[in-house]
Every structure is written in C-alpha cells, then in structure tokens.
C-alpha cells in the first residue's frame, strides 16, 4: 500500500468535512492576523453580528504599515495610523491577543510566531499574507489567504480549501562557504520558475536541508510562494525540538513530553508518492543575486545576465525586465555600484542573519555612498542583538539599525527606495515598484547584502571571507 506524505497526514487529520465534488473544510489550529488584511474581515463579522469563534487561537501584530523609527510616537501618516489603530480597536472588541507597537513581542508576524513557540509541528496555520509559508519550517501546513478567508477563519476557525498536489524538492550535499539558505532557495526558484510550484504544496528534504538551522529553514519555506507553491514544509527533527524547547508558548513539563512523542511521528512514509519531484546538488549552489523583476530571474553572483537567446522562450519578459532594471543581457553584475542595502523582512531578519552580517562587517566600514538599513524582525531579535553587542558592531560599521516591521520589503510605510535607485535586499520580491515606484530591487542573502554595503558595489562575499 502506498504510504502518505507528511503533508497528506497533517491535511487529512484536519479535515472537518468535505463538500461533495468540492473543497475540504479544513480546521485551522493557529490564525495570525495583521493590520493590513484584517480590517475588512472584522467589519464583515460586525455586519453579521458574529464574534471571533476561537480568539485564543488567534494572534495579532502590527508589522506591514508601521514606521521603523520613533515607534514610541504617534504614526505620522494618518491613513497608516488609522489602520494600525483599527487593529487595536478590533482586537480589544473581539478579545484577540495583540502584540502591537510598544509590546515586547511585537514584530513581523512570521518572525514572532516561531520565536514565541506559537508555531509548532503538525499544525495548520494561516494568515492574510503569502509568506505564511515560513511556518512550514516546523513541519506545519501554513499558507497565505485573502481577507475573505480571514473572515471565514475568524468566524469558524476553518477555511474551505482544495487539497493541493504534492511536490518534493530534495537538496543533497554540503553547501560551500559563503552560501546561505537564501541562496539555496533563490537557486531553486531560478530553476523551477515563479509558476513551477503552482497547484502544489512542497516538502523540502535531503541532507542539505537536514543540516540547516531552524532560522535557515524558515528562509527556505518563506519563499515557497515565490515559485507559486501553496506552501512548503520541512519534517520536524531534533533541531526543531531543540529550537522550540522553553519558548514562551511552547508546551512545557509533562505537556512537552506528550507533544514531543506526537511530533516524532511526523514524517513522510518511505513508500509515499509525490506528484512531482526535483533534485538539486548543493555543490552547484553559489551566492545568488536576482537581475530581473521576479524572484525566478536570478543568477549565480559571478554569472552573466542571460541573453534573449538563453531566455528559454521568455524573451519578451526578459527584455521588459532588463529595460525596467536598466541592465544589459550578457553582462556581469559584479562591481555594479549600489546605493541602497536593505537587510530585513520575514525572509532574513532573525538573530542568525544579524550575527552573520555583524561577523562580516566587524571592524570595517560601509562604503560612504551606501544607505544601509538593518531592520530586526522583532523586538526580541532587537533585544537579543543588543545583548550580544551586535548593535554596536553594526552601527560602528555605518549600518542604520531601525525598529521591527516589514519596512522596505514592500515600502508601505516611509521606508521606500527612490525611483531608479538600486537596492540589494534580503527580502523576497523584486517586482517592479515593490520597494517604491520605479525602485530596482536585487534579491540576495544577508552576506551578499553586507558585502555589497562594504564595497559599495555588488560583491561576491567569498572574496571577503
């Protein structure tokens, strides 16, 4: 008999009922909300005079639209202030825990869930944000939903979903010095394309993945959506359990042992079949950088931008992207002068990312023309960085350390990259205008971003280590 994948096991045990010839009613263990995709959902509840069904399974934070400086002062932009206040008002009215501005747990939603031990193996989790896939790193089914679905989950703790197909992506072999998990996922997407995962839920496996820390695994799962996948997960193991033990909302005492024994059963059966499989050799992975206007348009840092002939039938798209980015096919990106460096976002703003950057820049100074911003993913990451003295190291190197929020990942607050300017960013999307109208984003790992800030131009970090 064919076995089941981990994805199948978790999905199937969360089915409440099935619609005839239709979707599954999927029970949701944890629902994260933030200020941008929740107000219309709460209004919907109000219009129907409904309460939040399970407020104790709902957690809120303010992250997308908050300023990253002077957070103790009222938000200057009136629309932003109204939206953030609306979240506070809604959480109070409906009895939902809010880790908002001023709270020691505040931060980017996909950073705080895991660090607080709210995210746990075997769970189903949703949020009105596509990078919810991040939580899959714990062996959870976690995916992004729209505001109407947020309303459904608030009202019933369930969402209607068609079960996606299953994809296995295996990466084996040792990674080379200077290569991080961000490079692994950019490499994968450049091979599979931004629609290569559409209709599928991914499981990542292989020795390379197994050797990664939890934070590194989160970076990989985070960008599952960028290949069009519904989400991505990594089976839990001792690395997962060690990360979780002792966290604020993780089980403790005898509860911990009980959960642990259930978590240890969470794996894909040997004979399980996936609908699609990809294998990659980690020794082929180098530091990556994107050159175009979707995350799949990436190359190894020392490769040349593809020519239209190499574009695999995507000639028109390549030409449009290069016109927007004002870059030329067949050229190298190394040495290209860069004005902005952004180290932050739910992809790469955790303590390990900050440690890697601090290690590289210690005792050195960024290039004088570069604006280098570091946005820690949460108040806890910020506090940890201060305890370790990373803040001093980073500030001495000329990096501006700001306060937690999504910031320039999507430029919804004041942290926008100006028109025409290039920004090497540790975030997850390089779409036209993503970081500000006319902004030109190049996605990279925290090490590549830091190396670029030091040299003032796109740099292969392997030359500095």
């Amino acid at each position: 008999m064919a076995g089941k994948t981990l994805f199948d096991k978790i999905w199937d045990r969360h089915i409440v009922s099935q619609v005839d010839q239709g979707p599954d009613v999927l029970y949701i263990d944890r629902h994260f909300i933030h200020e941008v995709t929740s107000p219309q959902a709460f209004s919907g509840l109000e219009n129907r005079s409904l309460p939040v069904f399970r407020p104790q399974q709902t957690v809120a934070t303010a992250d997308h639209n908050v300023p990253t400086l002077h957070q103790h002062l009222p938000i200057k932009d009136s629309l932003s202030r109204y939206q953030v206040d609306k979240l506070t008002e809604n959480c109070e009215k409906f009895g939902v825990s809010l880790y908002g501005l001023g709270h020691p747990f505040q931060g980017i939603v996909h950073v705080i869930g895991p660090e607080l031990g709210i995210t746990q193996p075997g769970m189903t989790m949703v949020c009105g944000d596509s990078h919810t896939s991040t939580h899959g790193a714990f062996g959870a089914i976690a995916f992004g939903i729209g505001t109407s679905e947020v309303e459904q989950v608030l009202a019933t703790q369930c969402v209607l979903q068609y079960k996606p197909k299953r994809m296995l992506i295996e990466v084996d072999g040792p990674i080379s010095a200077g290569v991080l998990s961000k490079d692994i996922i950019l490499y994968i997407i450049s091979n599979i394309s931004t629609s290569g995962g559409t209709g599928h839920f991914v499981e990542y496996g292989g020795s390379t993945i197994r050797d990664l820390s939890m934070e590194a695994r989160m970076t990989i799962c985070n960008m599952s959506i960028e290949m069009g996948a519904r989400g991505g997960l990594i089976a839990p193991d001792q690395i997962t359990f060690d990360y979780l033990k002792g966290r604020e909302f993780a089980p403790s005492g005898s509860d911990w042992e009980e959960h642990l024994s259930k978590w240890k059963e969470l794996s894909t059966d040997d004979k399980a079949a996936f609908d699609k499989t990809h294998h990659f050799d980690a020794t082929d992975i180098a530091p990556m950088i994107t050159y175009g206007t979707n995350p799949g348009m990436g190359i190894k840092i020392d490769d040349k931008i593809p020519t239209p002939e190499q574009a695999n039938g995507e000639r028109k798209a390549l030409e449009k992207a290069l016109a927007y980015m004002d870059l030329d096919s067949g050229t190298s990106l190394l040495g290209k002068e860069i004005e902005y460096v952004f180290i932050g976002s739910c992809t790469n703003a955790r303590i390990e990312d900050l440690r890697l950057v601090a290690d590289l820049v210690k005792g050195k100074k960024k290039a004088s023309h570069v604006n280098a911003m570091i946005i820690p993913g949460s108040k806890q990451v910020e506090a940890q960085a201060q305890t370790e003295g990373l803040d001093r190291i980073l500030e001495e190197a000329g990096f501006q350390l700001r306060q937690p929020g999504c910031s320039a990942c999507l430029g919804m607050n004041d942290d926008k990259i100006p028109k025409g300017a290039y920004c090497v960013s540790t975030s997850n999307r390089n779409f036209e205008g993503r970081q500000g109208p006319g902004a030109r984003t190049l996605l990279a790992s925290p090490l590549t971003a830091a190396a670029t800030a030091l040299k003032g131009c796109i740099t292969d970090v392997r030359e500095l280590i």
Binding site: Y27, G144, S148, T156, L160, F431, R434
Partner: protein, 195 residues
C-alpha cells in the same frame, strides 16, 4: 456576492505574463480599511506617471479597448495574497479575467468576489490576443453554466474548467462563509474529538 451567469463583452488585452499583485494594486494603496474604491488605483503605476498623468501607452488609457473582460498572459496574479487585487479589478469594471493560468491565491480571491477567472489553453489565448488586436470590437461570450468561452464573429469556442462547488456559488451568488457557518456543529464535534 453578485451572481455570475453569462457575460458577453469586448475584451481589454494585456499581453503581459506573470502580472503580479504589486502591479495590480501597489502596497501603498492597501491602507484602506474598507473594500470600496480600489478600482481607481488598478495598475496604478502602469497607468499614471509620478505627476498622476495618464501614461498614453498603457492599454487602460486607450479609447480603443473597452470591456468587462481582461485578457492577460499566463500566471496572472502571482505574488502577494492581497485580495485587494481582485477588489481593484472588479471595482474597475471587469467581471472576468481570461488567461492560460492563474496564481493559486489570486484565483481563490477572485472566485470569492464574483470575479470569474477563465483558464483556457495557451493556443486559444494567443488566438484571442490576435483577434482582439485585429479587431478591438471582438466580442466574447462566457457561459458559466456550460463552461464555454466563445468568440462571436468568427465563431470559435473552448471549454474551461471550474470546480463544481465554486461554479454553484457563483451562479447563485453564495459565499463560503454562509456554508461554513452551516457547519458549526461538525466543527465543534471535530474539536471535541481532537483535543
């Protein structure tokens, strides 16, 4: 939700692939706390320059193409989960989007708002782009009940897939929340068994 049954309209062609939701509705317009008014900012940075003047080379600014159907390249709606993208398209006046593929989250968001995503073969899509380019008055008939897309003159047609549950919801104007609320007993029973 508005019912969707049959739609006969001319098409507005946007022959670009991988149109992401940041183009459909840029992040700075997500500050609104209601569902209304997003149509004004549909494709904002493709439609208007920094002085807020309409860009003459963008399709929505041409008088030549009008209609309730958006015709677009593959992988439409990729990127962010913002439902505001579906709201913007619908509020602008489109009732259906035709492409050879849609990003998953966008597809759900569209269906939840009475905006029909019609998935056809890439050959038929190229044919429609050509027809529309040759004749901006090309009319198309989308029949949800029959699941067909037909060009009216000359007559060509293709069937499209849609899951039966969603089809039923669109034809009747039902939304998922009503259905889920009807499942409350089962949900509570599930919780009791699983805790």
């Amino acid at each position: 939700m508005e019912k969707f049954d049959t739609l006969i309209s001319t098409c507005v062609p946007l022959p670009i692939e991988n149109v992401d939701t940041d183009q459909i509705i840029p992040a700075r317009f997500l500050k609104a706390t209601t569902r209304e008014g997003f149509g004004e900012n549909l494709f904002r940075d493709w439609r208007y320059d920094e002085q807020d003047k309409p860009k003459t080379d963008f399709i929505l600014n041409h008088d030549r193409y009008k209609g309730a159907i958006l015709l677009t390249g593959k992988n439409f709606g990729c990127g962010s989960s913002r439902e505001h993208a579906a709201w913007a398209i619908y509020d602008y006046g489109f009732k259906a989007v035709i492409s050879s593929s849609f990003a998953d989250i966008f597809k759900s968001n569209a269906l939840n708002n009475g905006l029909l995503p019609v998935e056809i073969s890439s050959d038929f899509l190229q044919f429609l782009f050509k027809q529309t380019s040759d004749n901006s008055e090309t009319k198309v008939r989308i029949d949800l009940q029959k699941q067909t897309l037909v060009t009216l003159d000359p007559h060509f047609s293709e069937s499209f897939d849609i899951n039966p549950y969603k089809k039923h919801c669109l034809l009747n104007g039902f939304d998922d929340l009503d259905f889920l609320l009807s499942q409350k007993e089962k949900i509570v029973a599930y919780e009791e068994t699983n805790n």
